[in-house]
């Protein structure tokens, strides 16, 4: 204060507006008001975080994820491989909410014909089919599906049995390494058995040979008959006349 009083007497000099000390204050309860320039500096120098990286899964990963297959999956796959090797008829049916009783009855009926019902998870089925030659069967396995397998292709019996259970919808089948649709299965079931077909074939072949024998024998007989007729006509011609011989030939 004394200092300001002293300088205020100087000519041409206005006294300072802030003549008293406003320096440090003992009060530390609140924040000291910040100078406007410092406020601006603080605003300018705010922390700016780096751009967040793309969320996981936004881009396909560079390295392919190789999943370790569990023992159960490997076992199931091995079972499937054996199944496709051993069984000649593998039919795929969709299981539309059949309860255990229905399934048991169906199993029992199919068992009479030596047909078995097998269940496999679709995921394992797909992965097995994609690696095997049966990859064209893969679209059949969608939703709850069951496999109807038998050692011999007993399509007719299977179709008749499945007709009794509306819960099972047949989708297709692989019979002796041939993929068949439902229509194909129907026509396959109408086919006669192998022995009858073989019999027919043999009979057809024998008929042909007999026909050729007949044909071969026919010409000389015909010729001899004609010649005999001619001789007869010649003998009659001399007696009756030409027009009668012409009508006979």
């Amino acid at each position: 204060m004394e200092f300001t009083h002293f300088v205020s007497f100087l000519p041409g000099w206005l006294p300072l507006t802030q003549s008293v000390r406003h320096g440090s204050k003992a009060v530390t309860r609140h924040r000291k008001p910040m100078h406007i320039t410092k406020q601006k500096l603080m605003a300018v120098t705010k922390y700016i975080p780096p751009k967040p990286a793309a969320p996981p899964g936004a881009y396909p990963s560079q390295t392919r994820q190789v999943q370790e297959e569990s023992g159960l999956i490997l076992l199931k796959k091995r079972q499937l491989k054996n199944l496709f090797q051993d069984f000649k008829m593998i039919a795929v049916a969709q299981n539309n909410g059949s309860n255990s009783e229905d399934l048991m009855i169906l199993k029992n009926r199919l068992h009479k014909h030596g047909i078995m019902i097998k269940f496999f998870p679709n995921q394992i089925m797909q992965s097995f089919l994609n690696d095997s030659v049966y990859s064209n069967m893969a679209p059949l396995f969608f939703g709850p599906t069951v496999l109807l397998v038998s050692k011999n292709p007993k399509v007719k019996e299977m179709l008749t049995t499945l007709r009794a259970s509306p819960q099972m919808t047949l989708l297709g089948a692989c019979i002796e390494d041939t993929l068949l649709s439902i229509q194909g299965l129907m026509s396959y079931s109408k086919l006669p058995s192998v022995t009858t077909v073989q019999g027919e074939l043999i009979s057809g072949l024998t008929m042909l040979t007999s026909q050729t024998a007949v044909m071969l024998q026919r010409h000389p007989a015909h010729l001899s008959a004609l010649l005999q007729q001619y001789i007869k006509q010649q003998s009659t011609d001399s007696t009756e006349g030409a027009p009668q011989a012409e009508a006979a030939s």
Binding site: S24, R31, H35, L41, T45, Y47
Partner: protein
């Protein structure tokens, strides 16, 4: 008669043996069945933890044992900025960490001591002071006294605490969840913002600060501008800001700044 008894004993032994064998088989079978079903969490390893003889917090003196008590100036510097000592763990795992500056009285310390000593389990836990007993004299004039007449008499003593200082350290064969409730209860009664932190948590906090400094996308930093005195900015910022790069205003810490 004797042979009959012998035979009976032999038969009994045979039966016992057979029974024992069967049980063993059954036992093995059971173990195989239950093997894959349960997964146990491995408990933390406390083998290297040594509990001290006196696990509880010691009593702190209200007044230091000076020969001649001298009045001091306010020296507000001693609560400003980050802690220069006592900001790392010594032998505990969890601590109350100051997140601002302030003065601790003897009363605060008594509150902490009594609460923590009452709540903690001395068989598994120990607690240690990380602050000195009150040493800074605070003077007051008596009630109803006229102003003037020089500096007042020493009223009490306090301990200055800066940002980042550990107040109390807790360790032993315990997890954070066991000690956190009562440490939190204590921490919220302190005269500055304080937090209960584990050793890893504190390290992570410092690491995060370092990461922020490294990954800052703002080309203009307080440090560069203040050091370079750009646009004469030194006129409005204090030398204190020059050291702390605008992360503190007085005893207060400004979070999220680089």
């Amino acid at each position: 008669m004797l042979s009959l008894i012998k035979a009976a004993v032999g038969g009994l032994a045979g039966v016992c043996g057979a029974h024992g064998h069967k049980q063993g088989l059954l036992h093995n079978h059971c173990r195989v069945l239950s093997a894959g079903l349960q997964t146990y969490v491995i408990p933390p390893d406390y083998s290297d933890v040594v509990l001290p003889e006196r696990p509880k917090l010691k009593f702190v003196n209200k007044v230091p044992n000076f020969k001649k008590a001298k009045k001091e100036m306010k020296k507000l510097r001693d609560i400003q900025g980050p802690a220069r000592a006592g900001h790392t763990f010594t032998n505990g795992q969890y601590a109350i960490v100051a997140l601002g500056g302030g003065y601790l009285h003897w009363g605060h310390m008594e509150m902490m001591r009594l609460t923590i000593n009452r709540k903690m389990d001395p068989k598994t836990t120990f607690a240690r002071w990380r602050i000195n007993p009150p040493y800074k004299p605070i003077t007051r004039k008596g009630l109803g006294q006229r102003m003037g007449g020089g500096k007042g008499a020493i009223d009490h003593y306090v301990t200055p605490v800066r940002y980042g200082r550990l107040i109390v350290e807790v360790g032993g064969k315990v997890e954070l969840a066991e000690v956190e409730p009562f440490l939190k209860e204590v921490a919220k009664k302190l005269p500055f913002p304080a937090k209960v932190m584990s050793k890893e948590g504190l390290a992570a906090m410092y690491q995060q600060q370092a990461d922020m400094e490294n990954n800052n996308q703002n080309p203009w930093t307080f440090k560069e501008i203040a050091r370079g005195n750009m646009l004469g900015i030194r006129k409005v910022i204090s030398p204190f800001d020059l050291h702390n790069h605008g992360r503190f205003t007085g005893k207060f810490h400004l979070p999220g700044r680089v």
